[in-house]
Subunit: 397 residues, 2 copies
């Protein structure tokens, strides 16, 4: 097994955007190709491309690459040779669609099958809440004020249980949103960048009690990408490569346990344990993290899953400022899903984007001397296996 | 890199079927789990699952596995533990969706990431021709008698060019269909099993001149699956494992060249050349083959791409009987896409199913002493990168 490095990352700003799905996907790739730390890469050297999307439809990745040339021309960039003709595989795994494409690229380079892979993801979402129905496609729905929308409702149940068992408060939940907005405020790629107080968050419209609007991730459109290569050739392309130490995927069991309170931890704990075991690292070694904060309660429970605080003590942990600016383990330093946005296929790559910049030392909310970064992404619908993915990165130079 | 074996295969009969998409997908898996040559495998030992579909929608693989338990109960099979909770990734690549899931399983076991993977695919298609429009989803359309339907029309153009350049005749094209029907006649899993004469084929309704109805693959519903493991543990599960010698994926370039006559060969030639190079085999070593005969002309051109006959001489080659029953290199011995059917996500696995049975020695149209098998699958829409996949199998005991 070979070591693998990330040498280029890119993303579009996340927002409700007018561009077509293919343009958005192409724009994320173009941003990665013109990553200021990337050099000497020609598209003709890219051996394969893996694309993540939930709702992009058949051959979405191929179509996006086919759009590269004209999209570059529209932007006044001289198109280079080899923009198309690359083998493309499309990966779908709901909210982890992008991460699964990224992970496949990591595995294949690790295995020696390819040396250089372009992995990317995109999503174009409408407004409203994503349906969490097991049979659902990429449907969005308007909030019905008489019932809880499915995805927020599921996490709201976990929040109520957490509050009951551990004394976690609404203020603790609001702190996740306040922290998220504080980080997003200085990230031009984030969808929502206004700073908020705890009162602002608590007084916002209630989506699913106790989760107010600002404790729920918005629907978003965006594209993002990463260029991975064998570590042995990474220096050819970048002076600031980032190494992937491990990638772990676990699934909830049994099928319906996404609904169970315990399942908010169980597969995360297994994924995190495996990542610690494989890297020989412990929680105190993590300098900066991205976790899947689709809803504020999820982020609190992830703190506990990964051993950053004791079980049930995540409320106190955020109250201590540990995951906040200047804290011991800054979490979701780009604003996370709650503020930066959550365009499913692009989400995992946007996490990679943020962590690569943190390890390079030029992130919008830079953590001093960041050396080890933790990436966590989860996804799935009710009644089917939820997927939980952890990757660990290290500054590679 | 470790050697990888196939120890279990399964498929539903292919047809227009009333079962739901999830039931069809689950049925393919159940058939593989109860493969008569498979023993000692418990689902709890399966470490990951890769699913191929074009039109299955988000988390189709997870949903299909979640359906396993109740589907087994409906069939009077005692459900076993561990049927769910397996990490699932979903692969989409049009007609190669299943092959890409199969190939990912092969790569990951080869790389040592997993030891045992369940890979499967399914599709539920309506009647009519698949749209070949670049923007198309999984749309079907009625034949419009005033224009050529897109996919048949594209291949019809290649057929006309082949006839003009090389003197290939309508009869040569018809021979592909006659051979296909001859093989399908004894395959209970095939969608269409009536034997036909050359006249029957030539007198059938014209879809896109010179391709008559019997020279075009039908739309089909079906599910199929394969269980792969590291060769070092294969004997635990089977006395008749089949080894994967290589897997190669190439893509057409530039983007629009699917429309060009030459592109009917180019990426195939590159994929085939690479497969020969990696295995040290030559065309004369292949005992039995499955190639992507979506339309009769495609099969003829594949003969030439892979060096089984000279360029332009495929008409003479099939006339000689070489790919037919009793010939030197029997091709599409299960009836191929034209007669067995083409449910996109399941197609690649059905090819694996046939070739595994050929190498085990118990296929419906058994080739004597088959030792080396060739699998070829291609897919894609117009204007985006077509994907071409070649895998080579060997009797593993």
């Amino acid at each position: 097994m070979r070591d693998v490095s990330i040498v280029g990352v890119g993303m579009t700003p996340f927002a409700h955007r007018p561009e077509s799905f293919m343009d958005i996907a192409a724009d994320g790739v173009i941003d990665a190709l013109y990553d200021k730390d990337l050099r000497n890469l020609e598209m003709k050297d890219v051996e394969a491309s893996y694309f993540g999307t939930m709702g992009g439809g058949p051959q979405a990745g191929q179509k996006a690459l086919a759009r590269l040339r004209s999209r570059m021309e529209e932007k006044g960039i001289e198109p280079q040779e080899g923009l198309t003709g690359i083998p493309v595989s499309n990966y779908e795994n709901q909210c982890t669609s992008g991460t699964c494409a990224f992970d496949a690229a990591y595995r294949d380079i690790s295995a020696g099958i390819h040396d250089i892979i372009l992995a990317f993801g995109a999503e174009k979402l409408g407004k409203g809440a994503l349906s969490a129905g097991a049979g659902g496609g990429l449907t969005t729905q308007k909030f019905d004020r008489d019932t809880e929308p499915p995805a927020p409702g599921m996490f709201a149940g976990q929040a109520r249980e957490h509050m009951k068992r551990f004394g976690t408060t609404r203020e603790h939940l609001a702190m996740v949103a306040v922290k998220s907005k504080e980080y997003a405020a200085t990230n031009p790629n984030a969808q929502y960048r206004q700073r908020l107080t705890i009162d602002d968050v608590l007084n916002a419209p209630m989506i699913a009690d106790p989760l107010t609007m600002f404790m729920c991730c918005p629907t978003t459109t965006g594209g993002s990408a990463a260029i991975l290569c064998a570590k042995e050739i990474a220096k050819k392309f970048s002076d600031s490569p980032v190494d992937i130490l491990t990638g772990v995927m676990k699934t909830a069991r049994p099928t319906a346990d996404m609904l169970a309170f315990e399942s908010g931890w169980d597969p995360n704990i297994r994924a995190g344990y495996e990542a610690y075991k494989q890297t020989g690292l412990s929680p105190k070694d993590i300098d900066v993290a991205q976790v899947h904060d689709c809803f504020a309660i999820a982020e609190l429970m992830h703190y506990e899953s990964f051993g950053w605080c004791e079980m049930g003590r995540s409320g106190e942990w955020i109250e201590s400022g540990a995951p906040c600016k200047g804290g011991d383990l800054p979490v979701n330093t780009d604003g996370g899903l709650i503020s930066k946005g959550h365009p499913l296929g692009a989400t995992g790559f946007a996490q990679v984007y943020e962590l690569v910049h943190q390890l390079r030392g030029d992130a919008h909310n830079q953590i001093p001397d960041a050396d080890i970064a933790w990436k966590h992404n989860m996804g799935g619908g009710v009644g089917v296996g939820m997927t939980y993915c952890v990757h660990v990165f290290k500054r590679g130079w």
